[in-house]
C-alpha cells in the first residue's frame, strides 16, 4: 500500500512537470550547423555543412507511407518507392542507380508507415547531380503499365516471397501485428498482401504520386561538404518551379482503442522452434513519452546484458533468442517482444519470466548504474548515426517531420540523457500496466 502511494505521488509530480523542464541540450550532441528554408512551393530544405570529408548526402523524405495505402490496396506506397527508380522524363530506367554507383556513391530507399525516404551519398563535387536526379523524379516520373507490372512481379512479389523464405516467423509476426494494431490502416504489411499487390494498377500509382510526391509534402535534407550559396542556388534551380499540390490529404484519423482485457491467442506454424509474441498497445499522448519508452527498450532488450536476455537466455535458459522493442507507426506505438523458446515444456515459464520482468520495470526503480549503461548504449548508437552524412541527413529530415523544426535535433540526445529513474518507472507503469496481448506459436 505504501509503495502504491509513493508511486501515485511520483506520478503526480512528473505529470505536473512541463516537458520543457526536463529538456536540455547536451553539449556537442549535435555539433553541426543547421540552416532551414522553405521554397515558395512549400518544399522544406535543411542544410548542414561539415567539411571533414569531401562527401555530401541528400535525403528526401515524403510525408506519406503505408498508412496512406487505401483499403484493399496494401503495398501501394512500397510500389511507389520502387517505381521512383524506374525512370523520369530525363532519367532512364535504373539510370538513377547507375549515375550514383558509377561515381562510387551509395543510395538507399525505404517505406515506413508515415514516410517514404530516398537517401544517397556521393563525392561532394556531385551535389548538383543528386539534386537534378531527385528533382526529375519529383517533377516528372514516368509511370507506365509495363513498369508497374514489372516492379510488382520482380520487386514487390519477389520480396514478399523472399522475406517468407528467409524468416520462418514472418507470417506469425504479421498475424501479431494485426492483433496489436487493431485497424487495417496500421496493421497491413508495408510490402503489401500478395492478392492486393496483384490488383494494384497504373491509376493507383498515378493517384498516389500526384497526391503525395509533391514538394509541399517533402523535406529535403543536405549534409556534408558544400558551399551554402552554391547549394541554395542548386536547390532553387531544380526544385523552385515544381508545382505544389496545395491539397494534400492528412493521415487517416482513427481513434485509439485499448485492449479491454488481456488477450491470448495460439497458432500453429511451420517454424523451427516454439515461440511467444508478447506486446502492448501504448496509449497516447504520443510521442512525448517515446524517449522514456525507447530507454526501456534498451534496458529490456539491447544486447546480452539487457534484462530479458539475462533472464530468459542466461539465467532461466528457456529461450534461444529474444528481440523486440518499440514500434512506431506515426501516432500509434506498440511495444513488442519476441522469444524463440527452447521447447514447448518451457512455454509457461518463459511467459512468467517476461511478465515478471515487465512488472519489475513498472514497480521498481532502475539503479543509476543500470540506467547509465542503457544511456551509454543509446548514446553510442545515436553518435554512430549522426557521424555519417547519410545518417545525419535522414535524422534531420525525421526530426523536422516530427517537430516541425530541425533545430530540435540539438535537444534530441538530451531528451534521453536527462531521464531519471523515477520518470522511467512512472512512464513504464503507465505504458505496461495495461493489458498485454500474447500470441503463442506452436510448431506444426
Amino acid at each position: 500500500m505504501k509503495r502504491n502511494i509513493a508511486l501515485f505521488i511520483i506520478c503526480m509530480i512528473f505529470q505536473s512537470l512541463p516537458l520543457s523542464a526536463i529538456q536540455a541540450p547536451i553539449a556537442d550532441s549535435f555539433p553541426y550547423p543547421i540552416t532551414q528554408i522553405t521554397l515558395p512551393n512549400g518544399l522544406r530544405v535543411i542544410l548542414s555543412e561539415d567539411y571533414s570529408l569531401p562527401t555530401v548526402s541528400v535525403t528526401i523524405m515524403y510525408h506519406a507511407g503505408s498508412l496512406n495505402d487505401p483499403g484493399g490496396k496494401s503495398g501501394l506506397a512500397y510500389l511507389m518507392e520502387n517505381l521512383m527508380f524506374q525512370g523520369s522524363r530525363n532519367v532512364g530506367r535504373m539510370q538513377h542507380i547507375n549515375f550514383i554507383s558509377r561515381i562510387g556513391g551509395h543510395f538507399n530507399a525505404a517505406t515506413h508507415a508515415d514516410r517514404l525516404v530516398f537517401q544517397q551519398t556521393v563525392p561532394s563535387n556531385q551535389l548538383g547531380l543528386l539534386l537534378w536526379l531527385e528533382s526529375d523524379r519529383m517533377s516528372s516520373l514516368q509511370i507506365t503499365r509495363d513498369k508497374v507490372e514489372w516492379v510488382k512481379r520482380n520487386l514487390i512479389l519477389s520480396t514478399i516471397q523472399y522475406k517468407k523464405d528467409e524468416d520462418p516467423f514472418l507470417s506469425d509476426s504479421l498475424s501479431f501485428d494485426q492483433l496489436l494494431f487493431a485497424d487495417y490502416t496500421y496493421n497491413h504489411p508495408m510490402s503489401g498482401l500478395e492478392p492486393e499487390v496483384r490488383q494494384l494498377t497504373v491509376a493507383d500509382v498515378e493517384d498516389y504520386y500526384s497526391t503525395y510526391i509533391r514538394p509541399d509534402n517533402a523535406v529535403l535534407s543536405i549534409c556534408g561538404h558544400f558551399e551554402m550559396e552554391e547549394a541554395l542556388e542548386l536547390v532553387n534551380r531544380f526544385f523552385r518551379t515544381i508545382p505544389a499540390s496545395e491539397n494534400i490529404p492528412g493521415f487517416p484519423d482513427i481513434p485509439f482503442s485499448q485492449t479491454p482485457e488481456a488477450m491470448e491467442f495460439t497458432q500453429s506454424s511451420l517454424v523451427p522452434s516454439p515461440a511467444i509474441f508478447f506486446g502492448y498497445r501504448l496509449p497516447p499522448p504520443y510521442p512525448s513519452e517515446h524517449y522514456v519508452l525507447t530507454l526501456c527498450e534498451y534496458l529490456l532488450l539491447k544486447g546480452t546484458t539487457s534484462r530479458l536476455h539475462k533472464r530468459l537466455i542466461k539465467r532461466d535458459r528457456v529461450a534461444s533468442q529474444i528481440t523486440g522493442g518499440m514500434e512506431i507507426r506515426r501516432d500509434r506505438a506498440v511495444f513488442k517482444i519476441f522469444a524463440a523458446i527452447n521447447n514447448e515444456l518451457l512455454r509457461s515459464r518463459s511467459r512468467r519470466a517476461i511478465v515478471s520482468e515487465m512488472s519489475r520495470l513498472t514497480t521498481g526503480l532502475v539503479s543509476t548504474e543500470e540506467l547509465n549503461k542503457a544511456k551509454s548504449l543509446l548514446k553510442s548508437d545515436y553518435m554512430s548515426r549522426i557521424h555519417t552524412t547519410s545518417g545525419r541527413s535522414e535524422f534531420l529530415a525525421e526530426i523536422y517531420l516530427r517537430h516541425g523544426t530541425a533545430e530540435q535535433a540539438r535537444l534530441e540526445l538530451g531528451n534521453y540523457m536527462n531521464i531519471l529513474p523515477h520518470r522511467l518507472m512512472v512512464t513504464a507503469n503507465a505504458a505496461f500496466s495495461g493489458f498485454y496481448i500474447i500470441m503463442d506459436v506452436l510448431t506444426k
Binding site: 556537442d28 555539433p31 561539415d50 571533414s52 570529408l53 569531401p54 562527401t55 522524363r89 530525363n90 547507375n98 549515375f99 554507383s101 558509377r102 561515381i103 562510387g104 556513391g105 551509395h106 551519398t121 556521393v122 563525392p123 561532394s124 563535387n125 556531385q126 551535389l127 548538383g128 547531380l129 537534378w132 536526379l133 528533382s135 526529375d136 517533377s139 516528372s140 561538404h225 552554391e230 542548386l234 534551380r237 531544380f238 518551379t241 544486447g303 546480452t304 546484458t305 542466461k314 548504474e369 547509465n372 549503461k373 551509454s376 548504449l377 543509446l378 548514446k379 553510442s380 553518435m383 554512430s384 557521424h387 555519417t388 552524412t389 547519410s390
Partner: protein
C-alpha cells in the same frame, strides 16, 4: 524504291505530324533547359586526412593515434602480428580459439562482469583472426577512454582461460562452424584457401570444427604467452583523442605488459599456383553452382595495390564490371559474378566468385577464364580504366565516413606496412594508374592458372543410382572433358578422391 501511295497521302501524314508536334509544343509545358542533362560536377574537393601520430612506450608497445575531432566514439584496435599460421601444424584453429576466449572472463572479472563493463561504456568488442594477424576491436564513447583501456588491459594482463569457459567456447564455436557448413559460400571459400595455400602455414586458416575438442588449456596458455607480446603488437586509436592523452592512459594500464625475448619468425611468402587446379564439393543443399577462382598475386611496391584495385573494378568489382555484365546480363549464366582483391603483407589474392546455373557451369568457368585472358593479354581500354578510377576515387571518402571502414583502412596501412603515402596520397596514386602500368602489372601474373573451387549439388553419391561411377555423372563428365583432373572434397575440406 518508288512510293506508290498518292502524293496527298504523303503530304497529309507529314502535315498531321507537324500539326501534332505544334500542338504538343503549345499544350505541353516546355521543359526548362537545365532539366535535360545532369549538371557538370564541380572540381573535386581535396581529401585532407589526419596524419597518423605514433609513439612507442618503454615496454616496446607502439601506439598509433588518428585524431577525428568530430567523432565522439573511439575505436581501439589491437593488432597481434600472429594469426592462424602461427597455430601449431597439428592444431589449426588454436589462434581463433585463443582470440575468442580473451574476453571470456579474467582473473578479477567474470564473463558477465566483462559484458557489463563493455556495455557500460557504450562499447562493443570483436575479434577477427586472419592467417598472419589477429585484430581485436573495442569501440566505446570517448568519455570512457580510461575505462576502455582498462578493460583491454585486464584481458591482456590477467586472462583467466578457465576450464569452464574453454568448454563453453568449444561448444559454441563447434556449433557456429557446424551451422556455417550449411552455407555453400562458406564451404567454398574455406576450400579455396586450403588449396590456394597448399601446405603453406597460411592454409591453417581453413580448419574444421572437429579440432576444437583437442584444444587444451595449456595450448592456449602457451600460444598466448608466445604471441601476445608488446613487440608483436600495435595499438591503434581512432576518434576524438590526442596522442599524449592516449599514451598516458595506455601507459598507466599496460606498462606491465611485456615484450617477448624471441619473436616468432615471419612465414615465407606463399607462391602463386602455376597450373590450374580444380576442387569440387558435392553439396546437396547448394541452390546453384558456386565458383571460387583465383590465385596469389605478388606485390613488389605499394603502387601495385592501386593497379590491382583498378583492374579489379574493370573486371568484377561492381554491377557494371565485365564479369557481371557478361555472365549475368548478357549470357544469363549467373545470378552474380564479382571479383575482389584481398591484400596481405607483400602479396595479395585475386579472387573471382560467381553463383551460376549448374547446367552452364562449364561455360561459366570458361567465360571467366576468357575474361581474365582478355583483360591480362590486351591493354584495358582507357575509358574503362578512367571509369574504374572515378569509382574508386569517389567511393573512398564515402566509405571513410563509416568509422569501422576508416579504422579498417588505418589498420591495413599500419599492419601491412603500406606506408604513409598509401594513406595521404590515395587520390594521387589512383590517378596515376593507366592502361600501360596495369598491363605491365598483369602480363606476368599467374591469374590464368588459378585454383578453381566448385560447390554444387552434383549428386556424386548418385542418390538415385548408388552404383553409378562418378565419372559417368554428366556434370563431372563435362568438367573433366574440359579441365581434366578433379579433386573431390567433402564439406569439411577433406579430400575424398581424385578423378583423372
Amino acid at each position: 524504291m518508288i512510293d506508290s501511295r498518292p502524293v496527298f497521302s504523303r503530304i497529309g501524314r507529314r502535315a498531321a505530324a507537324f500539326v501534332l508536334l505544334f500542338l504538343l509544343s503549345v499544350f505541353l509545358p516546355a521543359q526548362e533547359r537545365f532539366r535535360r542533362q545532369p549538371p557538370n560536377p564541380d572540381p573535386r574537393h581535396r581529401l585532407n586526412l589526419p596524419r597518423f601520430l605514433s609513439h612507442t612506450l618503454k615496454n616496446n608497445l607502439t601506439i598509433h593515434v588518428v585524431p577525428l575531432e568530430y567523432d565522439r566514439r573511439v575505436t581501439l584496435k589491437l593488432i597481434i602480428y600472429s594469426g592462424e599460421s602461427s597455430s601449431p601444424e597439428n592444431l589449426p584453429g588454436l589462434a581463433t580459439f585463443t582470440a575468442n576466449l580473451l574476453d571470456k572472463g579474467t582473473l578479477t572479472l567474470s564473463v558477465n562482469a566483462v559484458e557489463e563493463a563493455i556495455a557500460a561504456i557504450g562499447g562493443e568488442w570483436s575479434a577477427a583472426v586472419q592467417p598472419e594477424r589477429t585484430i581485436f576491436t573495442l569501440s566505446f564513447l570517448d568519455e570512457y577512454l580510461d575505462r576502455g583501456v582498462e578493460i583491454l588491459s585486464r584481458f591482456l594482463l590477467e586472462p583467466a582461460f578457465s576450464q569452464r569457459e574453454i568448454v563453453n567456447l568449444q561448444r559454441t564455436l563447434y556449433y557456429q562452424m557446424f551451422n556455417r557448413r550449411k552455407d555453400s559460400e562458406f564451404i567454398g571459400k574455406n576450400l579455396f584457401h586450403l588449396l590456394l595455400f597448399n601446405g603453406h602455414p597460411y592454409s591453417r586458416i581453413s580448419f574444421n570444427e572437429d579440432i576444437f575438442k583437442y584444444i587444451k588449456q595449456k595450448d592456449i596458455q602457451q600460444f598466448f604467452e608466445k604471441n601476445y607480446r608488446t613487440n608483436n603488437a600495435s595499438l591503434i586509436l581512432v576518434g576524438n583523442i590526442d596522442l599524449e592523452t592516449a599514451s598516458r592512459h595506455i601507459s598507466t594500464h599496460l606498462n606491465t605488459w611485456n615484450p617477448a625475448a624471441d619473436l616468432p619468425a615471419d612465414d615465407p611468402l606463399p607462391r602463386p599456383l602455376r597450373r590450374l587446379r580444380i576442387g569440387l564439393v558435392d553439396d546437396p543443399q547448394a541452390d546453384g553452382a558456386y565458383i571460387f577462382l583465383g590465385n596469389i598475386i605478388p606485390l613488389q611496391s605499394s603502387l601495385d595495390i592501386f593497379h590491382y584495385a583498378v583492374f579489379n573494378m574493370v573486371l568484377g568489382g561492381t554491377l557494371n564490371s565485365r564479369l557481371f555484365m557478361n555472365l549475368r546480363e548478357s549470357k544469363q549464366y549467373a545470378y552474380n559474378a564479382f571479383s575482389e582483391v584481398i591484400f596481405f603483407k607483400n602479396f595479395g589474392i585475386f579472387l573471382v566468385t560467381a553463383k551460376v546455373k549448374p547446367a552452364v557451369l562449364n561455360q561459366s568457368i570458361k567465360e571467366i577464364l576468357r575474361e581474365l585472358d582478355t583483360a591480362t593479354k590486351l591493354k584495358l581500354p582507357s575509358n574503362e580504366i578512367e571509369q574504374a578510377k572515378s569509382y574508386l576515387i569517389g567511393q573512398f571518402p564515402v566509405r571513410m565516413e563509416i568509422q569501422e571502414e576508416y579504422t579498417g583502412r588505418v589498420t591495413d596501412v599500419i599492419s601491412l606496412n603500406l606506408g604513409d603515402s598509401h594513406w595521404s596520397q590515395y587520390f594521387e596514386s589512383i590517378t596515376s594508374v593507366n592502361a600501360d602500368n596495369v598491363f605491365e602489372q598483369l602480363k606476368d601474373s599467374d591469374l590464368l592458372s588459378p585454383v578453381i573451387v566448385i560447390v554444387v549439388n552434383a549428386d556424386l553419391e548418385s542418390r538415385d543410382n548408388p552404383l553409378l561411377d562418378p565419372k559417368d555423372n554428366p556434370l563431372i563428365n563435362r568438367l573433366m572433358a574440359e579441365f581434366g583432373e578433379i579433386e573431390v572434397y567433402n564439406e569439411k575440406g577433406i579430400l575424398q578422391y581424385t578423378l583423372k
